[in-house]
């Protein structure tokens, strides 16, 4: 049937096989799944990009801001009676429950991001600490939150949550696009467009861009820098919380203390790929990384290739365009 899959058996010595027939056969389903993941990466990537734009800080603890959101989703929905089985509720009840989970996850992540900024980064800023210290603090904060969750919930993943059984919506070249993929992609893209407009049009957005461009001059012009920094962290947190709901929707058993770590790295890579500090870059980078990883996984025939392929492409792109694909920074982008 699929002779190309035979080399995957462990008796074979080839450890890389290019399974092109399989990629062709699964191209469209890989595309839609890739876009779904890409949308989630992009929402998380925005948090990295915004904070980097304003503070020149890679907030490695952002992956834990995200996982706190996942736990909020888990606790909200499991206390409302959701579990591994498909819920026996009517549609409107499910929507209300999911909305509640979304709001609580966004709040939980935003509060985590806020506290992180106040406790970990603000004291350093007041002491004018060198940038390296910020970076180490970020990594330390990431591990601290991760292992606090470990101590609290243990090493095992939480029970899976089925929010709704995805149903086919329409066909593309024989591949079914289901409601879950559609919900995630569309909602995430709407949120990203909203954020993009907010940064480019609103007064706070202008403030964020001003601080990103030149913090001292922005302060002289009457921009409250501290408030802008907090706002940036909170926006990143809100988006990570929304991403958390979509992530748990896509991967019901993904709520685990270490579950944000790899996703965080990939979201960060997405931000770099698109051009860190650039809001549209995060969107583009996220979607691209999701697609590339999924194609690579099918082409090479093993899920462990997802990350290898994604990062090889990242390195290649950065060799040609060190600033990322869209390359401009937050401050200069649409000033």
């Amino acid at each position: 049937m699929l002779p190309s899959l035979v080399p995957l058996l462990p008796t074979e010595n080839d450890w890389i096989t290019f399974d092109i027939p399989s990629l062709i056969q699964n191209f469209w389903s890989a595309t839609f799944d890739g876009l779904t993941f890409g949308a989630i990466y992009a929402l998380v990537a925005l948090g990295y990009t915004l904070v980097y734009g304003v503070l020149n800080l890679i907030n490695f603890a952002h992956s834990e801001v995200f996982i706190v959101g996942c736990y909020a989703v888990f606790f909200t929905l499991s206390s409302l009676g959701f579990g591994p089985s498909a819920p026996r509720l009517d549609i409107w009840a499910i929507i209300l429950n999911l909305l509640l989970a979304l709001v609580l996850a966004m709040l939980a992540s935003a509060v985590t991001a806020f506290l992180l900024e106040r406790i970990a980064y603000k004291p350093l800023r007041q002491r004018n600490a060198p940038r390296l210290v910020f970076l180490i603090t970020a990594i330390g904060a990431s591990f601290t939150i991760q292992y606090l969750i470990y101590l609290w919930r243990g090493p095992s993943p939480e029970l899976a949550l089925t929010m709704f059984r995805p149903t086919p919506i329409f066909d593309v070249f024989g591949t079914i696009v289901d409601s879950q993929q559609l919900v995630i992609i569309i909602a995430a893209v709407i949120m990203m467009v909203g954020i993009d407009r907010f940064i480019s049009k609103s007064r706070t957005g202008r403030g964020i861009r001003a601080v990103a461009q030149d913090p001292d001059t922005a302060t002289l012009m009457g921009v409250n820098k501290e408030r802008i920094i907090i706002t940036t962290f909170v926006i990143g947190g809100l988006l990570a919380g929304a991403a958390a709901l979509f992530y748990v929707m896509k991967i019901p058993s993904g709520v685990q203390y270490s579950g944000g770590f790899v996703l965080g790295i990939k979201a960060f890579a997405a931000a770099v790929l698109g051009g860190i500090g650039n809001v549209r870059g995060a969107l583009l980078g996220g979607l691209l990384l999701g697609l590339i990883g999924n194609y690579g996984q099918i082409l090479l025939g093993n899920s462990q290739w997802t990350d290898v392929v994604a990062f090889v492409v990242l390195v290649l792109v950065l060799l040609l365009r060190p600033e990322g694909i869209l390359g401009t920074s937050l401050g200069r982008s649409k000033a």
């Binding site: 049937m1 699929l2 899959l5 035979v6 995957l8 058996l9 462990p10 008796t11 056969q25 699964n26 389903s29 799944d33 993941f37 579990g83 591994p84 089985s85 498909a86 549609i91 409107w92 929507i95 999911l98 979304l102 709001v103 966004m106 090493p155 095992s156 993943p157 029970l159 899976a160 089925t162 709704f164 059984r165 995805p166 149903t167 919506i169 079914i176 289901d178 409601s179 879950q180 559609l182 569309i186 709407i190 949120m191 909203g194 954020i195 907010f198 007064r203 706070t204 706002t231 929304a242 896509k250 991967i251 019901p252 058993s253 993904g254 999924n294 996984q297 025939g301 899920s303 462990q304």
Partner: protein, 410 residues
């Protein structure tokens, strides 16, 4: 004011997404129910198994004497993603030791547990610690194939006998170890039996084989795919700890497979089956002993209704005396997969201690020449440490419980 704007747009996006899921869900319940039950092959369950009449019990004759330091140990998962498989085993051991100590006031055997988390990388530490404790005369473990492979040499060096109640990778007995004994059939037996079960009783025409990256999954995958022959529609690998299976699932759906065999453990098997059913797969899911646990049903939810299991293990829950006594030890839980194998393995060691084999060397030669019935089957090992007459059972999920459907593969 502008902050309000961002919140409004986020809220709008959220509402929109929920509405979309609403439309999606309207069609939901109907399709779910029809796919959940329609295509499952119905194989009746069995309600009793025969116990060998002369089965050795841990209690013995009640006259045994031994030093107060005499200790048996369990090494294997107590925590970690597949912990439940370990819990089933050490509760069985605990029961055997409790029954023995109660009947034999002159011989109180101590029981020590060493946690490996089921992880080959973590197992060497606790096992090294265990073999260096001179009071430990015999060990039940290790439960999983990967960790057994990683630690077999450590036992060998110290001449400490160990009986695995559940590790099924065939190559484990090819290492020349003299201290390793397997208390059940290996995957060279289970794999072909599973293949026969899939194409025979299940009636599958196209089977998709998915294996994890453990020694157990790879070995079982190989022996099963050989047995499947032309019914094999494709092979796919997953990784320990993997959470997202969408790429594997789209391959299965595009290959139009009517059954999936998953060679691995429930930690990945449960979310895999759950996502498989969510994507609209309405064929049969068959998993081996590593998947056969109530945790699988708990974690996969109603998706688990499509599942069958193969297992070289005896349904201990059907042996009333054993099941009742087990519940006292396990705080009410039914015997699980390999509980009875753990109990039997401990009984082999305890009967040796009672017979005066109270050094490591003596107990080792006791096990080597052992030739008696246990509760689950006859125990007699060949020179490599394999059992001589293993059986493979089939199980299915029925109303949220795992029930046996009798021996398969014959």
């Amino acid at each position: 004011m502008y902050r309000k704007k961002v919140l409004t747009s986020l809220a709008a996006a959220a509402t929109f997404s929920m509405l979309l899921s609403a439309c999606a869900n309207q069609a939901g319940p109907g399709t779910t129910e029809s796919s959940g039950s329609s295509s499952k092959v119905n194989i009746p369950s069995i309600s009793k198994v025969d116990v060998p009449s002369g089965a050795v019990k841990p209690a013995g004759d009640g006259k045994a004497t031994c030093p107060a330091t005499t200790t048996l140990a369990y090494a294997g998962a107590q925590t970690g993603p597949n912990a439940q498989l370990g819990v089933n085993i050490f509760n069985g051991i605990q029961l055997a030791i409790d029954q023995h100590n109660k009947a034999n006031p002159g011989c109180q055997v101590q029981f020590k547990k060493f946690d490996t988390e089921g992880d080959p990388n973590k197992a060497t530490g606790p096992v090294t610690q265990m073999v260096s404790e001179p009071d430990i005369l015999g060990v039940v473990g290790l439960p999983f194939s990967g960790e057994s492979k990683a630690t077999g040499n450590i036992f060998e060096q110290k001449g400490l006998v160990h009986i695995t109640p559940s590790a099924t990778n065939p190559t484990l007995t090819e290492n020349g170890w003299t201290t390793f004994f397997r208390g059940l059939g290996n995957d060279a037996v289970q794999g072909p039996a599973a293949a026969k079960f899939l194409t025979g009783k299940i009636g599958a025409k196209k089977v998709y084989l998915v294996q994890d990256d453990s020694d157990y999954g790879i070995g079982l995958g190989t022996s099963t795919s050989a047995g499947l022959g032309s019914a094999l529609a494709g092979t796919e690998k997953v990784t320990t700890g993997q959470k997202d299976f969408s790429a594997v699932i789209s391959k299965i759906m595009n290959a139009k497979a009517d059954a999936v065999f998953y060679a691995g453990y429930y930690a990945e098997g449960a979310p895999f089956d759950q996502q498989l059913v969510s994507k609209g797969f309405n064929g049969t899911f068959v998993g081996p002993d590593g998947v056969k646990d109530d945790q699988f049903i708990k974690q996969a939810g109603d998706a688990s209704n499509n599942a069958y299991f193969t297992c070289p293990c005896i349904p201990g829950e059907l042996i009333t005396d054993f099941a009742t006594a087990y519940k006292d030890v396990s705080k009410g839980a039914e015997p699980g997969t390999y509980s009875i194998e753990g109990y039997d393995a401990a009984t082999v060691l305890l009967s040796g201690i009672d017979a005066g084999k109270q050094s490591r060397a003596d107990l080792l030669s006791w096990v080597k020449s052992y030739d008696k019935d246990g509760l689950s089957k006859h125990y007699k090992w060949d020179a490599k440490g394999e059992l001589q007459a293993p059986t493979v059972y089939g199980y299915k999920v029925d109303n949220g419980k795992i029930v046996p459907i009798g021996p398969i593969g014959e």
